[in-house]
Symmetry: C2
Subunit: 719 residues, 2 copies
């Protein structure tokens, strides 16, 4: 690639002249007495007795930004690799004694220190295994550019998705970085070292076949993997690349997208494609999307675990490894494993804003070491907090060297992250046996042979309420609402003349079913149960002479896509019911009972009809809500009286396991008036809660009716 | 315990005089040049550089059966530990050079060989941490017994559940075995070794607090664990005991049953309690039952993974570790881990008849090494095939010493074993956060607030068939059948006069629902679908002028308890329907369509009405079955014509993923006539199969009708 090295290696002690480990053919035991039995070299080379390799070369620091502007700090700072190397030294992982003793130390204590693998320049033919010749030429050309040209180039790239700076020695460092990755991987595959860590830069995983991107020129890991596959076709056929950089490795994904022999698994922050590298210009699904599973022969060998948000930590990463990464990796059964090890998901990295601890990096490394006979190479990618990357890298290196990963208390898995993992499982279940339990055949479920269970159940519920209480569907005379709420609003026959009315606004009943573990998610009808806490309240209300309006709100959860339009719909429905029915009723005592997410309807009614003919609350004697989801404030900036009224006239039962009880700042917050009179239930789950508080609620309602009747101050009169 | 050792250790090289590892205070580097930097002892003691300990003492072979009868071979053979020790030697894991060089070798290559931990006699006070003084006295008394008394004792015990032989040196060996376990564990906890393997016998895990049992006198592991907890209260508070012996470790379970600080997890063959140690005399739930989760403060710290059958292998053990053992162990977060390592689940052990490979033992060890900062001690329990236990123990030892576990292709998980894991998850979900996703609140599901979903769905199905085809329920005039089959048999109005009749005997429709991963198994009604493949066949039959009888068989799966009585019930129903209805119909062409497990009804009818007024098959023009469960033979020893008729007049579509296609011996077997004309479907799952073959089936039926009509040879006439 080039004739003259412009710089000498600045450091270090250590044996940079050796390329094949302490047990290479040239090394032999000189003191036969210490090794009296006739163990063959092969037995000595048992991986437990081989050292961990380390590739580091300070010349890779030559790629830098400084010359373009004196105070232009760039996160991909040359000190990154230097700091890691220094941390290795401080941790005692690198031999620092007199060079002349190195050979002896390594012979006697082969696993005591990391074995130095020299970096070298990647060959053109190696780079072209993963890149187009045009791309190689382009990178080479930057060596001949003038400073002005480089400045111009950097200015152009830095402001685009390519996000790159280019210096006169960038090509030099990038070629060394790629070559370092190649020799690191080759030494592991050849069995010269037990495993290895390449502390290299510039990073590689964003570089595409035909363009640089995201601080990356050559995609180091694919260059190294393809080289190993070519040179060791027998022992290195199938390769797993695990990318835990906080950014998606678009370049690696695209290079191997149709390759069945390279499994690419990436854990990264995705944020619906808004996190770097984000959305390509053509506005397709961003590269990091969970939907991308590979193509052609490579279908199934691309696994994207794209987090919904920043802030992920050990709980999420350990769960991802246990539930997705390790099962798929074991089924794939690779011959060689490479970690694209960015440390920007580490606790302390501002760009990543995640919280992965060094202990967790150690555990993930330990798990990956169980694959491929332990043939594992770690190649540095991103990571920009110098302390965080150093501590993380030391933890990984210690684990590679045989230290057990540190004892660790794993935080509880974030619920939304659990959903991400579930989604990944669903996508990958087409390609991996181990991903199938728990995944439903949605194509079949949504075929014309299927019917939505909700309709069955509401029909049955309607039949029961018709039979027991002669309740009838209320026709909703609005086209849009009608379609959604057909059969969903039922009323007792003479509700308009009842003196007491109970309006129940509830979620559909709960469906509980124990999936047949062995048979994926085929649920069994005879082991599935519909659990309904509302009916007993209606039974009670009827017995007490209430008129009842039962409003079933099909799907009021906020997160699913299908229900994005539900809040406006439920608001319209409640307004329409108020204006056309409830307000016109004769009732003296109207109570609202909100159950589950549907209690949004209560809030919407109180807010949107706060200034109607009369404020609707003046007709309402009390509000009872059962909440196991979002707690919803009832307030208005134009109506100071709303929140105090709500506080005084409500009982809001909140599930025992609700987040608001776990976080003291939340617990304090919900004491505010706009959340009503909040009561912590001893139970969780709507049905159990409604059962537990039935007596209290019924007494509370009756007391209010009695008070109003005794004082003559019925809400209707006061209106 | 005793003053004189009756025997000298027979072997070996190695440093039995040292008790605290190569970095103990007494050892120092004599050649400062090889260690030029000033690393502290602590840094040197980093576990990656500590050796793996090995406890072995040939005196434990003194417990033997031979003296009682010359040819009495007993599986718990003294050679067991000897063979393992020899295998370690052959594998080069044990230093065998000149004793005078040992110290130097260990100093220079501390991790090259296993570090010998001498066995010693357990102290009375140590034994009494896990046993009653009475039990200790009883064991000691055996030393003073005459040969005749010992013979008598052995004879008595050998025939009972205690299953024990006692020799004059049994107490001697047992005390050494327990003491060996104690010092092995203590050395690990104290950090003198990285981890350790105690090759000891007699085993311990069946021994109860107050009695010997199953070849065991003292329960070595509990004695050692309690001693460590007592002597290292700070560093060894919480202990995980993982017992992979193929038999349940009843003794360990019972000793720690109420102890919250010792988590006992056992993987064992259970077979509904029929496998040793099986059922205690009082006939409670056998100790090994999944139901046993601990008691009092120890509730949740007992986990039994009891296999339904022998024959388990790597697929099941790896799945158990991934899905149950590791998540619970990580949540428990132990300070110290002990493996009660019987190797009788190993491939080759006749008593265990399981198929765990050495590679799998290595992987399980590797996973456990990630806990408790790597503080792991392995104590031998059972295992009786000398080759199997040696190879397995070597694999475990290599892993302890830092070798990566071997690359392994993991077999697919047995479906029934998957159900066992699911059941364990359900039981443990009360105590472990990590076990909760996927577990239903069955108490709520079966409360009086719930309704069985099956009834909702069948009602809805009935409504559809009534509306579309005016089908009506057939009243079943038999008390017992009526209750089960109310609404389950529907017929078209004039079926008795139809010339063509289709009898459909089917499972309930499938319920597909994607559980909300984050929210346990709360299923959402709007994301749940009822999928039904039968209705389109009925639509077709009606269009073609068939009379239709639709028989819904609520729960015909054979494995669930609820349906144990179903086969006789479905037989009664089919007989009753035949005798009272079908046989009396005018039809010339009767077809049976069996779907799913319910196709048992087709078989029962053909067999039980083979010699009625006329053999029912003479009225039947053809049989079509869709099968994704058991394939059922239709044959009779008194009626040679039945199987050939069935072969000639049936189409039996079998799911693409059915076991019978995977096992060549099964594939051959189902070609026999009694299974009918078996066709491999390209699809799996009843609905997909019925869709895929609708045209073929309909053409096949029509062709038969046409043929019969053309030849005038209708079944009715031929009858």
């Amino acid at each position: 690639m080039r004739d003259v090295d412009p710089l000498e290696t600045e450091d270090d002690s250590g044996q940079t002249d050796q390329t094949s480990g302490p047990y290479s053919a040239g090394t032999s035991y000189d003191d036969a007495d210490t090794e009296p039995d006739s163990l063959a070299l092969e037995q000595l080379k048992r991986r437990g007795l081989l050292p961990t390799g380390l590739c580091y070369d300070s010349r890779m620091k030559m790629h830098m930004n400084a010359e373009f502007s004196n105070n232009a700090h760039h996160p991909e700072d040359p000190r990154r690799i230097h700091e890691i190397f220094e941390a290795f030294k401080r941790a005692g992982l690198i031999y620092q004694g007199p060079p002349e003793l190195a050979a002896r130390v390594f012979k006697e204590m082969p696993t005591r220190y990391m074995w130095r693998i020299p970096a070298r320049f990647a060959l053109d033919e190696e780079i072209c295994l993963a890149h187009t010749p045009a791309h190689l030429s382009w990178v080479k050309e930057t060596e001949n550019m003038s400073l002005a040209e480089l400045r111009e180039l950097t200015k152009r790239y830095d402001s685009t998705r390519e996000s790159l700076y280019v210096g006169s020695l960038s090509c030099y460092a990038a070629t060394l970085s790629a070559g370092g990755a190649v020799d690191t991987c080759k030494n592991v595959v050849a069995g010269n070292v037990k495993n290895a860590f390449a502390v290299i830069r510039p990073p590689g995983h964003h570089a595409e076949m035909d363009q640089p991107m995201g601080f990356c020129f050559f995609n180091n890991v694919p260059v190294a993997v393809r080289t190993c596959q070519k040179e060791y076709p027998e022992t290195c056929r199938k390769v797993l690349i695990l990318d835990w950089d906080v950014h998606h490795g678009n370049g690696i994904q695209n290079i191997f997208y149709d390759d069945p022999n390279v499994l690419y698994i990436s854990l990264h922050v995705y944020m619906d494609g808004s996190f770097y590298p984000g959305r390509p210009e053509n506005d397709e699904i961003p590269d990091g999307g969970i939907e991308h599973c590979g193509v052609g022969a490579g279908l199934g060998t691309n696994v994207n675990i794209g987090w919904h948000a920043q802030g992920m930590g050990d709980g999420e990463y350990m769960a991802a490894f246990q539930k997705i990464v390790m099962p798929i990796a074991q089924e794939f059964n690779p011959d060689f494993v490479v970690i694209s090890a960015g440390f920007d998901a580490a606790d302390g990295d501002e760009l990543g804003a995640c919280f992965v601890t060094p202990a967790c990096y150690a555990h993930m490394t330990h798990m990956l070491m169980s694959l491929a006979n332990g043939r594992l190479a770690v190649c540095l990618e991103g990571g920009y907090n110098l302390d965080a990357i150093s501590n993380s890298a030391v933890a990984v290196a210690r684990t590679l060297m045989g230290e057990p990963p540190p004892q660790m208390t794993i935080a509880k898995l974030n619920k939304e992250a659990a959903r991400v993992l579930n989604k990944v499982q669903v996508y990958q279940s087409h390609y991996w046996q181990c991903m199938r339990p728990g995944v439903v055949d949605m194509a079949l479920a949504q075929s014309n042979r299927s019917q939505r269970l909700h309709d069955f159940v509401r029909n049955a519920q309607k039949d029961v309420l018709m039979m027991k209480h002669h309740m009838v569907p209320l026709y909703i005379q609005r086209e849009k609402l009608h379609r959604t709420f057909e059969n969903q609003v039922l009323v007792t026959p003479t509700i308009e003349t009842a003196s007491k009315v109970l309006i129940v606004i509830h979620d559909p009943p709960e469906l509980l079913s124990q999936p047949d573990y062995g048979d994926h998610t085929r649920l069994e009808l005879h082991n599935s149960f519909i659990v309904d806490g509302v009916t007993s309240y209606i039974d009670w209300a009827r017995k007490e002479g209430f008129g009842v309006m039962d409003i079933n709100v099909p799907n009021c959860a906020e997160r699913t896509d299908a229900s994005a339009h539900m809040p406006p719909q439920i608001a319209s429905l409640m307004e329409w019911l108020w204006d056309n029915y409830i307000e016109l009723y004769d009732a003296d005592h109207i109570f609202l009972l909100g159950v589950g997410n549907a209690y949004l309807g209560v809030k919407m009614l109180l807010i949107n009809r706060r200034e109607y003919t009369v404020a609707c609350r003046e007709r309402i004697s009390g509000v009872v809500n059962f909440v196991n989801g979002n707690l919803r404030p009832v307030k208005s900036q134009t109506d100071d009286g709303l929140s105090p009224w709500y506080k005084q006239n409500s009982q809001v039962y909140v599930a025992a396991d609700h987040n608001c009880w776990l976080d003291p700042s939340l617990t304090q917050k919900i004491e505010k008036r706009r959340f009503g009179t909040v009561v912590r239930s001893k139970e969780s789950g709507l049905t159990r809660m409604m059962d537990a508080h039935a007596e209290d609620v019924q007494r509370w309602i009756q007391d209010r009716v009695s008070e109003e009747e005794e004082s003559g101050d019925t809400t209707a009169e006061s209106a």
